[in-house]
Symmetry: C2
Subunit: 362 residues, 2 copies
Amino acid sequence: MDRIRIKDIALLAGVSTGTVDRVLHNRGNVSEKAKIKVLKALETMDYSPNILASSLAYNKNWRIAVLMPNEIKDPFWNQPKEGILRAFKALKDYGVSIDFYHFHENDIEDFTANSKNILDNNYNAVIIAPIFLNQSLNFLNKCEEKNIPYVEFNTCLDLDAPNLLCYVGQDSYHSGTLGAKLLAFGLSPGEQVMICHLEELVYNSQHLIDKENGFKEYFSNHPSLEIEVFTGHYANPYDHEGLANFFEETLKKAPNIKGIFITTSRVFHAINALKKINRGNLKMVGFDLIEENLKYLESENIDFLINQNPHKQGYLALLNVFNFLARKMTPAKLQFLPLDVVMKENVDYYTDELFDEIPIIL
Amino acid sequence: MDRIRIKDIALLAGVSTGTVDRVLHNRGNVSEKAKIKVLKALETMDYSPNILASSLAYNKNWRIAVLMPNEIKDPFWNQPKEGILRAFKALKDYGVSIDFYHFHENDIEDFTANSKNILDNNYNAVIIAPIFLNQSLNFLNKCEEKNIPYVEFNTCLDLDAPNLLCYVGQDSYHSGTLGAKLLAFGLSPGEQVMICHLEELVYNSQHLIDKENGFKEYFSNHPSLEIEVFTGHYANPYDHEGLANFFEETLKKAPNIKGIFITTSRVFHAINALKKINRGNLKMVGFDLIEENLKYLESENIDFLINQNPHKQGYLALLNVFNFLARKMTPAKLQFLPLDVVMKENVDYYTDELFDEIPIIL
DNA sequence: TAAAAAGCTGTGTGCGAACACAATAAATTC
DNA sequence: GAATTTATTGTGTTCGCACACAGCTTTTTA
């Protein structure tokens, strides 16, 4: 069964390919009579355009700017970047080109300068990790003025902004309930559990607040478990001594704590500290498949890691932009990434990048 | 930064596009001098071919046959089929065409007739679920004779067959250890656990044997857990009365069983039976995101479902065939699919097909 | 009725790569 | 050195679609 081409439709309808093309694209300049003939032919032959030939002929160049932190302060940013690059690899032949504008994660000036450069260069769309609230809003307002569509990832500002195509990011609240469920499954009535932040400025960070809410609400929705929840907070996990003391104190006050939920990738610091005070046997749940954590997953000091698919964030961000620009598809506004439950027994499936070799855009 | 074309290389090298083409494809008929000029130009400009234009110009038709059961006996087969169709949707413009040859799952004649048809029609490649051992081997031998490459999915016969591109399927052994680890996390020393098959002909089915081995070896490798493992087996879960009696008897003999691992998607039958005897509170792990199981995941009667990504099986099978034929890529021989741990709290990410709308082949 | 305008239709070219074939240059033979 | 063969190189066509433009028909206006 060979594929139907515009030429075939034209032949069947008894018109030229130009006329079929005009009908397909609603370009007008077609008589009612011809239009009907073409539509009839289209019905009988179920034509769908060859996307390769179509993209080739369009010969458009979609210029996209990516505004995100560099990886100097936090190597996390490499992952969404890789995702963007993977999508780019698939899309470059479709006319996509991207420019990265990296700013330093604690340099507002740097952010502003980069955002100005983007505005000066007339991009077709922007992908942004809007980590500075006010400066980002300011920049995105300018995008609205210039009618540049954009996708936000990692952090979301105003979901109702007209030119915001979508937000691609993690579902912090549910990652909290997920962590809670996992620990609840492993604990017995009468035992205690702790949610613990190892970050500075916890309550400026919506992510962490959402996780904490999710975690706590799970337990308050399941009173029959009879598990008491404690909240812990230690700002600087690089202070090994201090962290160990912190845990020692806490466990003295609540000796029945049998499981700990660390709200970020810094769970390995907690293990280090707990080992130091001979409490390496607690049930532990944390985030992200970074090297240090994988080591402790292997040694069974960490029971579960929740994988937030940071790689996919970037991948989807670019894909959504492309689909909007080239395919005129409006994406779902809110796109949460899968929360994978990763254990020693299935970690290989999430670290191997089996699919990197697959050169396809459907 | 515009993309580099053959024309650009030719211009830089001071030769014609034909010569560049000959160098790129090792077609010969190029003087040493010209070849060097082209290679130098290629180095400085980092050219990569436009895959759209390339595929369009190749104008090849890759004819692929799929030999698999129909979904009449087991709706499971719909899932890999959907995966194949999804990949097809992405690949059709690259010149791929597929024909499905469905046979009835317990009709060997039907299988043989279909396989004969395939051989008569000279396909470029075959995708097969080789569920009848001898007949499949017979068919695949003919493929070897005719030098037709093929991919096996779901079941694997001889991994060393020369024309077998790869096997795409589930990792049964590790799904067993995964189930074991999950239950082990939820149980306390001194408690008991059961692995239970709700199928006929268990020990003819390598999948089930592997799962059982994985499950048991987990516990024998972790003696410090002090958990005793029982094995159960009830052939016909549609006999509700009988199944309930079976569980009642078993739990009478081993009253400390606190968790059950059902080795297939039939875990919902176990819940039904256990509820009948007022033991719906056991910790339960099973397989597959089918409707009945999702209901019990929601109601928290099932704690974990292991998702074997049957959809991806089909997707990858076709993709690997295409990459081999069109891109001359040799795939990894053994491709196990991710084993996702699915819970009430993250089930949405695995059932929503967010990605169906994404028209991409990287 | 002729001229101008508007409506409609078909043909031709380009997108970038693949490949056939013609054209040229170099090497071989007599 | 001319004729022939062989090696090398350039040009032209094709893939299916998008779009520009020319040509034709019909309608409107003077």
